[in-house]
Symmetry: C2
Subunit: 232 residues, 2 copies
């Protein structure tokens, strides 16, 4: 049996709520534009803008704010008043100072595993905002390393599990996104533990892997120590 020495943890919606903050802001956005567009239509157009813009902006709140502004102009045929744009700017800034709420079981799980494994936080998105959230969460004390990357693919996991551990084959990635956390980690040769979150961004959706004996699904992150005990 391969020993596991290193645990990689995704952050947004694995360690703390994130998607919820985006959904709340989308509600606020829909209210601002209620006179111009029906909510479902607006959400579709916003998602289309995000999908287009992720190539230019990468992930994160600032790009999301720019996509909201673009969508507001689009759905109003250029008639959106400047005070609505000002409110969108404010909604974006509010996201950037939103409190960081750890998810249930997170802190006790990190405490339980930290002495037996090297812990690496691996998150993608905006450097500045992710650093703020890591620090605001108070969870940074449990990690041996924190890596903020622009994209999570197999190479990312190979590099990071080699830099901070004993290579990908002796590492496990834990996260809520099959697409970003689990599939590329498995491709890199690591173990993957999927911890589903109740809301998933459309751009993060993917099918579960088939036939991998390195793939596990946990009801919640609190089940991780049990899984690790079983594998060791």
């Amino acid at each position: 049996m391969t020993p596991i020495t290193t645990l990689g943890f995704d952050a947004d919606d694995t360690l703390w709520h994130n998607e919820r903050v985006f959904r709340l802001t989308e509600e606020r956005f829909a209210t601002l534009l209620a006179d111009y567009s029906e909510k479902n239509h607006l959400t579709d157009r916003l998602l289309a803008a995000e999908r287009r813009n992720v190539l230019h902006y990468g992930y994160g709140v600032k790009g999301f704010t720019l996509s909201m502004i673009e969508t507001a102009i689009e759905v109003t045929d250029g008639k959106v008043p400047a005070d609505v744009i000002a409110e969108i700017l404010e909604a974006g800034r509010d996201m950037l100072s939103h409190p960081v709420d750890p998810l249930p079981y997170v802190e006790e799980t990190l405490k339980a595993v930290k002495d037996d494994y090297r812990l690496v936080l691996i998150t993608k998105g905006d450097l500045f905002d992710q650093e703020r959230k890591v620090s605001a969460s108070g969870l940074d004390v449990y990690f041996d390393a924190i890596e903020i990357v622009s994209e999570k693919n197999a190479d990312t996991y190979k590099t990071l599990f080699s830099r901070h551990g004993t290579g990908p084959t002796e590492a496990m990635m834990i996260g809520n996104s099959l697409k970003s956390d689990i599939l590329p980690a498995l491709e890199a040769g690591a173990f993957g533990a999927h911890v589903p979150h109740d809301i998933t961004w459309a751009l993060e959706e993917a099918d579960a892997p088939h036939g991998s004996d390195r793939f596990f699904r946990l009801d919640h992150i609190g089940k991780l120590p049990q899984l690790l005990a079983r594998l060791s």
Copy 2:
């Protein structure tokens, strides 16, 4: 004499033009708002917005675009038409795909020093956009490590010169910003070589250090090998 083993290079306006792209975009912004605001006043208001927002947005093009939109709303007392906002969004996106032009002497200098020193690129700003520029410049092949950080202070240099070299006292930081590249590197115990650029963003201005025997000023980056030879 302390040996120098490691060279840290700033990127924007040290290895390639950057501030020029911001200034061109400011011209475009001024043209868009010419009916509402006189150029100097507009530039002042934009700088004030950037200064306020850097705490929320950090450095980079996306935050700059958001600050332009905010300023456009401000200087027009909320009367800016949506098509002007759309043009500002486009100006921001154009910045994010702007070609990366290495500065004179850069490539030959990197070639000249790369076999005798460990080379680390240390740049602050937006992760996604900085990675794009590093890759588009073609200069990444000369570096042993590339570090994109959210802020450059003495601790940043201590950490990075320890991670990639033999510690700050045996390292030299080379860059165009006294405030971000030179003063904090000197504070960390490293050498600092200031390579002035013809335009400097107001938020990067600082006075030159006095009485440090680890501080040097170069007319251009091509003089670096000569300085290193003199110090070794």
